[in-house]
């Protein structure tokens, strides 16, 4: 399973990713992506395609898919 990694030093919080991945992400008080469940950002297999699209379309290149540990 993959996890969505956000480089917080790069993310500008315009929220494109939360539009592409509403099942996984919500905007926080300031527009930055947060896990909808409040937990981690493990990407369910069913959302793998949307997650890849979010990664490729993030204007700040702040998103990566990384192998979930453990």
């Amino acid at each position: 399973m993959n996890r969505l990694h956000i480089d917080w030093t790069a993310c500008d919080g315009r929220g494109l990713c939360t539009e592409l991945l509403p099942e996984l992400l919500v905007e926080d008080d300031w527009g930055y992506p947060a896990a909808r469940t409040g937990g981690d950002l493990t990407v369910p297999v069913a959302l793998a395609g949307e997650a890849r699209e979010a990664v490729s379309r993030c204007p700040a290149l702040a998103l990566r898919l990384v192998r979930a540990e453990g």
């Binding site: 917080w8 030093t9 008080d29 300031w30 930055y32």
Partner: protein, 383 residues
């Protein structure tokens, strides 16, 4: 650790020179020695030293080692004391870890104020800015390579790719000094102090309502909280609570019998961390003091990560409202929500540590929270 400011319950690091030459150990022997001693990093995170050494060594490329004496935490003075008291042990430890990980380049990363006394040491000095987050590992890496001392994203570990792309080990100077002694006296000697799970001694900086605030004391893990405070001259009066682990730590009861160890502090959401102990007098409001610390930490954000830059000031402000009795419905729940919202959402652990302190205050001072919500302050009313 000048003799005037230190009462050493266990004086290992402060026992002066005369330890004799470093034994000729191989890299593998040094890693095994660190593992057998069970030594953990003394910079705060408490990670097993041998694992970090092994990870950097396993990269199989020429490594870089940074001895970290940045100590941005305002209530901590032990690394500065150690730089004065035992610079030779730090240099020895640096040589050992460099050998263990195959490093040709080593740095001593220390505040500018400490440099004049360190110039004669056979090590390259780098300046640690006086900022809370400057001691964070990736900030140290950035600083020695000439960039701003701010934390970097953690997708790639510095043990794989740190300073100039080299596998990099950042190790606190106290840890290095312990290693220099373990190399001479052995893991068994190291384990004679502390507990079976948390072996060895640590340096504590004790401040707040004690007779000798700022005292640096060496003791074994598991030492009674009362004995640590006594080593700083004892309390100036009745205590309300004690902050353990520094500004990213947690509040524990002022119980003299409480052992200072990870195991005993865990139930309060605290840990010995880098050995910072702050005693809060009975006449002070724990919420006011925690709000002051949270505001300080909110002002120390490195200005990079949205949730931290926005969330920490908001969280500190909300706690301040509660502390100053600017009460509105749902205030404690809002503090709680913000603490959870910022946790895990930054390039470094600064938001996590700040949230930990705030949540710990809400638990430790729950009677004060209730009083403030009804417009009273127990501290003002003399409890």
């Amino acid at each position: 650790m000048t003799t005037s400011s230190v009462v050493a319950s266990e004086s290992r690091l402060s026992s002066g020179s005369g330890h004799g030459p470093l034994p000729a150990l191989t890299g593998a022997e040094i890693i095994a020695m660190a593992r057998d001693a069970g030594i953990t990093g003394r910079g705060g995170a408490g990670f097993p030293v041998w694992r970090k050494l092994a990870a950097v060594a396993a990269a199989g490329r020429p490594a870089v080692v940074i001895a970290n004496a940045a100590e941005g935490e305002p209530a901590s003075g032990k690394d500065k004391a150690l730089l004065t008291a035992a610079p030779d042990l730090i240099v020895d430890g640096l040589e050992l870890v460099a050998r263990a990980v195959g490093a040709r380049t080593t740095y001593l990363y220390a505040p500018a104020g400490a440099h004049s006394s360190l110039r004669s040491l056979p090590v390259e000095l780098r300046t640690a800015p006086d900022a809370f987050v400057s001691g964070e590992e990736s900030a140290a890496v950035a600083a020695v390579t000439g960039r701003d001392a701010v934390p970097a994203d953690k997708r790639i570990r510095i043990t794989e790719s740190g300073a100039g792309g080299a596998p990099t080990l950042v190790q606190n100077v106290e840890t290095l000094a312990h290693l220099a002694l373990i190399a001479r006296y052995g893991p068994g000697w190291f384990r004679a102090a502390g507990t079976a799970d948390e072996p060895g001694t640590f340096l504590a900086t004790i401040s707040g309502a004690v007779r000798r605030p700022g005292a640096v004391v060496e003791a074994g893990y598991g030492v009674r909280l009362g004995d640590l405070i006594a080593a700083a001259g004892g309390p100036t009066g009745r205590l309300r609570a004690v902050l353990v682990g520094g500004y990213h730590g947690g509040w524990v009861p002022a119980d003299p019998d409480l052992p200072v160890s990870r195991a005993a502090m865990a139930r309060y959401g605290a840990s010995p961390g880098a050995g910072v102990v702050v005693a809060l007098p009975a006449g002070s409001c724990g919420l006011v003091e925690s709000a002051r610390i949270a505001s300080y930490l909110a002002g120390a954000v490195a200005g990079q990560c949205g949730p931290c830059v926005n969330g920490l000031p908001r969280m500190a402000q909300t706690l301040s409202d509660l502390a100053l009795r600017r009460v509105r419905p749902g205030l404690p729940a809002e503090v709680d929500r913000l603490a959870r919202l910022v946790t895990g959402r930054g390039a470094c652990r600064h938001p996590d540590g700040t949230a930990r302190l705030v949540l710990s205050a809400m638990r430790a001072f729950d009677t004060d929270v209730a009083a403030h919500l009804s417009g009273h302050c127990l501290a003002e009313e003399g409890r």
